[in-house]
């Protein structure tokens, strides 16, 4: 392959036979879908959109991109791509740390796991080779113990361990892969797919070996320019000065609460009376002990905390999403218990967003006496108990392990599930941030804030300031951000780079690393192609007209909080605009669009 930046090597691991084959990257695919998310989706698409997510035909891809492991700022992300057992859509979920860089330094662009092993195994990756090793002694262990054991066996230096915990082994539908103890590929149940394949861990050993850019001088200039905008002290990313760097993602808690966009008690309210007690500012004052970072990132947004007493734990990271899902959304104001439950989720390997949502749904079901179990709002002891039961699929936990949508249906009231395409919504109430409504509804992996992060425009003003309560223009904004984020996820750069960088900075760095000229128009068209491939996959998997929706709570029950009082989310109006700019027919990609984008 002529393109720079790639290792030009992927491993296909057949877990049924235990064999490993190696191949290069198809250059046309690399040009069309880049790497990480885009190329991973192409591999999953080629495996067939109708496979059983928990069967041997599903492909589980660990992918990096052409910028991974290089000097490019914020280039430490890994994408795990597969067909989701939670949603039935294609899904990709990313984590930070050093595993993605090490996979590149070990000589790989991706690891593609197919088939199903009869016995537990883990994959050991070093120096361009993959070896399957028995994992009987690790099966049944939590992620923290698995990481400790494998680091002792293969490290500790220059080693990353990505593992599943008991939740993945027990096929909890929203089980995650967790890298280096705490960096989760949280969403979509990729860990459940790992469990179905009896793949316990991926261990990568590699010394730092930065790939050389194809155009050295251009790279220096592009890198300098991108770094300058990230370091600008007026931006959220500015190291030790910007809101994201100083307080982490949980700097958002107070602002979403102020504007009436903080879903509370299963989104029955839109602000939480104790939000300031859980917010990043309070965490910094009380329990913060360290600010860890990822490969090539000066922002250091991770927030390591230490609590004492009943919920004593030392963990990273106290993020906005779980602080909301296990806090405001469950009516829970106990700061320490949230850290404790996040760590339990990291150890069991369970998506803390989906789990917080399944809990809040169960709390509403209990309040409405739909279930016999008494699960009160804001009862941290009960929440801890349910965490154990769910990961082990015991008692009511067996229902909760199925995810919010399936559990609500089993409880007899599907309307109390705050989900889209089977995945729970994250921490932005679309009555106070309208763009999130269309972004959730049209996300290809089920409700998600990271496919199109519209609060960048609605709160921060990037790429332009837009009124959070206006629906006008949000369809086009969502398309733009979906396409842009599809590209950054395929490089694979941290999503937070988009708070400072734009298409120009991205295109310049890609061009310098690969040597293949890319304009901003090329970049957005590539993102559009990736987004349409995902949508086409979903269409073939059975998601047709009517699959882009929101729970009625957001479209019919007005907000009662200051900032968004009286508002509902005008989804139908935004959806009409969105389909028009996408060129889709009621959520379905027409043949003409597939040809225009050279997908078929």
């Amino acid at each position: 392959m002529k393109l720079g930046g790639y290792a030009d090597r992927v491993a296909r691991i057949d877990l049924t036979s235990g064999t490993v084959a190696y191949e290069g990257i198809n250059e046309e695919d690399a040009r069309k879908y880049i790497g990480a998310r885009g190329l991973g989706v192409k591999y999953v698409y080629d495996a067939g959109p109708t496979v059983d997510p928990l069967g041997p035909g599903n492909l589980l891809c660990f992918m990096n991109g052409p910028l991974t492991g290089s000097e490019v700022t914020m280039s430490g992300r890994m994408a795990i791509v597969t067909k989701s057992p939670l949603t039935g859509t294609v899904t990709d979920s990313h984590h930070g740390g050093w595993s993605a860089a090490r996979l590149r330094w070990a000589g790989f662009d991706g690891l593609l796991f197919g088939g199903q092993s009869a016995e537990p195994v883990y994959a050991y990756v070093e120096d361009g080779k993959v070896e399957l090793k028995p994992a009987d002694d690790l099966w049944g262990k939590g992620i923290h113990e698995t990481v400790k054991t494998l680091l002792a066996r293969h490290g500790p230096d220059d080693v990353s361990v990505i593992a599943i915990g008991q939740a993945g082994e027990n096929l909890v539908r929203y089980a995650s892969w967790v890298n280096e103890n705490d960096r989760a590929s949280g969403r979509g149940g990729t860990g459940c797919v790992g469990g179905s394949k009896k793949l316990k861990a991926v261990v990568i050993k590699a010394e730092k070996k930065m790939p050389k850019p194809a155009r050295k001088d251009d790279f220096k200039e592009a890198h300098k320019r991108a770094l300058a905008v990230i370091m600008d002290e007026n931006t959220a990313t500015s190291p030790r000065k910007g809101g994201l760097s100083v307080y982490g993602t949980n700097v958002l808690m107070n602002i979403t609460n102020t504007i009436g966009a903080l879903g509370t008690r299963n989104s029955q309210q839109t602000s939480f009376e104790h939000a300031s007690e859980l917010a990043g500012e309070k965490i910094k004052e009380t329990i913060l002990v360290h600010d860890p970072t990822c490969h090539a990132c000066p922002v250091a947004c991770k927030k390591e905390v230490e609590t004492h007493g009943k919920f004593a734990v030392h963990m990273e990271s106290y993020e906005y999403e779980p602080a909301w899902s296990l806090g405001a959304n469950c009516g829970n104001s106990d700061r320490d218990s949230i850290a404790y439950i996040i760590d339990l989720c990291n150890d069991y390997g369970m998506d803390a967003i989906e789990f917080g949502q399944v809990l809040s749904m169960a709390m509403e079901a209990s309040e409405k006496e739909l279930i016999r179990d008494r699960i009160g709002w804001g009862d941290p002891d009960k929440m801890v108990e349910l965490t154990h039961l769910t990961a082990r699929r015991s008692e009511i936990g067996d229902r909760l392990a199925e995810g919010t949508e399936r559990a609500a249906k089993a409880f007899g009231d599907p309307a109390i599930a705050m989900t889209v395409k089977g995945q729970s919504i994250p921490a932005y109430d679309p009555r106070g941030l309208k763009g999130m409504g269309i972004a959730y509804a049209t996300s290809n992996r089920g409700a998600c804030h990271l496919r199109a992060y519209t609060p960048a425009a609605e709160l921060l003003g990037v790429p332009e300031k837009m009124d959070p309560l206006a629906w006008e223009g949000k369809g086009a904004l969502t398309k733009l951000l979906q396409d842009l984020h599809a590209v950054s996820d395929s490089f694979d750069l941290c999503k937070f780079s988009a708070f400072a960088e734009g298409p120009e900075e991205y295109a310049a760095q890609y061009t310098a690393v690969t040597g293949a000229p890319m304009s901003t128009e090329d970049l957005l068209r590539t993102g559009e192609r990736i987004y349409n491939l995902e949508r086409h996959y979903n269409n073939l998997a059975g998601f047709r007209e009517g699959s882009d929706y929101l729970p009625k709570r957001f479209t019919e029950e007005p907000s009662t909080s200051p900032g968004s009082k009286g508002q509902v989310c005008e989804l139908d109006l935004m959806l009409k605009d969105y389909y028009q700019v996408r060129g889709w027919e009621n959520g379905v990609v027409p043949e003409s669009k597939l040809k225009e984008l050279e997908i078929v």
Binding site: A236, G243, L244, T258, I259, E321, D467, K495
Partner: protein, 93 residues
């Protein structure tokens, strides 16, 4: 007299104070209150208003949860019992 709430890094610029009492009269524009706030906490100089007196792009000022950019900007009139909150650039995910 009313309470202005400061968040995130703006607190550090204001000597760690999360809330500051500032006098205002009903009907006064919010811009006047912000200038009084800067007089009270000079560390906020250049963080809220640019040299021409306009609101700095990434800063958000909310009156009862609504960004003043959609209420008439710095000319938006204050009333007696509004919640006033000011944020610097914040983002996450």
């Amino acid at each position: 007299m009313g309470t202005v709430r400061l968040y995130a890094t703006l607190r550090d610029r204001a000597g760690g104070r999360p809330e500051i009492e500032i006098p205002w009269s009903p009907g006064e524009p919010v811009g006047t209150l912000i200038r009084r706030l800067i007089d009270e906490e000079p560390g906020l100089q250049g963080r809220l208003l640019d040299p021409r007196g306009a609101l700095v792009p990434f800063v958000s000022v909310f009156l009862d949860g609504r960004d003043i950019r959609y209420l008439g900007g710095l000319d938006a009139p204050l009333n007696g019992d509004q919640e006033i909150a000011i944020f610097p650039a914040v983002a996450g995910g």
